[in-house]
């Protein structure tokens, strides 16, 4: 590309995902196109059934698309060989909603981070454990955390571990799927602050039904409804001047302190 502006870190074009249910095609995603720039955070908001989670899972390669195109740094991953496709997908990481199920209960925290680094080509256990210790300290956990098992940590701490694991390989894109939704409000804010602090040059696809969290964390917001993208724009545009009626009703429904029903 001879373009002046660099290609977005990740871009999806006309993404469609359909399932056959009782002989009928059901579209989980219906022609979704969006792009996340370098170091940008894009919030995907929508209610259950909007397809926002499916979108995130397709981006990290957990699910396949029915049709459409995914581009990494301007290169369509369907057009490259298997090895390069895997290498590109390895630059994507994910933070999950459930801090209990997203860590292996029978593996120490250090080993889990080692396994991630190992898959990324860094095979030395001692070296990886040292890296893990540094990462765990960065996310605000005690030094001995690497040698302990997940059940010894609270939900908020586990989410910190999941963040440490996700950033361990220096990914270019992190998909955070309802990453703070299962946490208490006070902890939710701490985790959001931590994610913002460690953001660096990573691009985020921040999937959430929590409007306030999205508004706090994201540069831009895309609103999804029933598998379609209904509106996207800067956070300020979407929150202050939503155009689509669905976005308006979504914002209207958010509980507000100072308003009475």
């Amino acid at each position: 590309m001879a373009d002046q502006t660099p290609a977005p870190a990740i871009e999806v074009r006309d993404l469609t995902k359909s399932f056959r249910v009782n002989g009928r095609d059901v579209h989980a995603l219906n022609g979704v196109s969006l792009a996340v720039g370098h170091a940008e955070t894009l919030g995907i908001v929508g209610e259950s059934g909007s397809g926002k989670s499916t979108l995130g899972r397709i981006v990290v390669g957990l699910e396949t698309m029915s049709s459409g195109e995914i581009l990494h740094e301007g290169t369509a991953i369907s057009g490259v060989g298997r090895a390069e496709r895997n290498a590109r997908l390895a630059k994507c990481q994910m933070i999950f909603q459930d801090p209990y199920a997203s860590l292996n209960p029978r593996m120490t925290i250090g080993r889990q981070i080692h396994e991630t680094l190992r898959a990324h080509g860094s095979r030395q256990l001692a070296h990886n454990l040292a890296t893990a210790a540094v990462l765990l300290e960065r996310v605000g956990l005690p030094q001995d955390a690497a040698g302990r098992y997940p059940h010894e940590f609270s939900g908020g701490q586990r989410q910190r571990i999941a963040i440490a694991r996700a950033i361990s390989t220096g990914p270019s894109v992190i998909v955070a799927d309802e990453a703070v939704s299962a946490l208490d409000v006070s902890i939710r804010e701490q985790i959001l602050d931590l994610m913002a602090e460690l953001k660096g040059t990573t691009s985020y696809l921040f999937i959430s039904h929590d409007m306030a969290a999205v508004a706090k964390f994201c540069d831009r917001i895309a609103v999804m409804h029933k598998g379609r993208l209904v509106e996207q724009g800067t956070t300020r545009q979407i929150i202050s001047a939503p155009q689509d009626p669905y976005t308006q009703s979504l914002l209207e429904a958010v509980p507000r302190i100072g308003r009475r029903r």
Partner: protein
Amino acid sequence: MTGALISVRDLSIRYGGPDAPAAVDGVSFDVNPGEIVALVGESGSGKSSVSLAVMSLLPDSAHVGGSILFEGRDLAACGRREMENIRGNRIGMIFQEPMTCLNPVLSIARQMTEGLVRHRAMSRSAARRRALQALADVGIPEPERVMNSFPHELSGGMRQRVMIAAALTLEPSLLIADEPTTALDVTVQAQVLDLLVEIRNRTGDGVLLITHDIGVVAEVADRVVVMQGGHVVEHGPWEQVIRAPREAYTKALIGAHMSLEEALTDGGLHG
């Protein structure tokens, strides 16, 4: 206060034995007719234990101290049958996940009329009319169709409405709603909250709302009981607790609930 529907005094709950650390300690509050009282706290605050105690649903291993009076009667002194009678007739319960309370293999009609036929000795047809009316009252557009469907055929919001309707058929004087909107989408949550307020206005029932979401509390509660670590940290009318909180923890809870406008300026990640 006299005339309270439910009056909790110095409630303490210990799991495991009389010497175990208290999960709940020294909790007192009332719910009066026509009043929405919110019990708000994060996980581990003891709010769920309190709600279970009020419904007499605590496991046998729990040691309960203090008293819970329902319409002047001490629940601890009630026999099993009497308690079941109160729970079935006087107190309506709404839970977070309707699927755990609705029987998946029975039609909605069957589930909604069973209690009326058994507890109220109503005829089947009278019970059916009452159930239809209750479904209409909670804003279900096609009550006939919903009556004949099974729980899995309904959406989450619809199931929650059905559960509320089922609770209303027995004409309780108190509704206990334990995280009634937590599993729902925000737009559906807003509808269910509106519904709770409307029911209160129409029937004059008391509502005990247990939730972790201070935003929900701020919108509907008349009185607020804030719990942390098994204790009540602040208790008062909503105007006072929400608008002018005195305790640091309440302030922190309210502070942590970002309004969208705050989030915009607070984020600092975007210009």
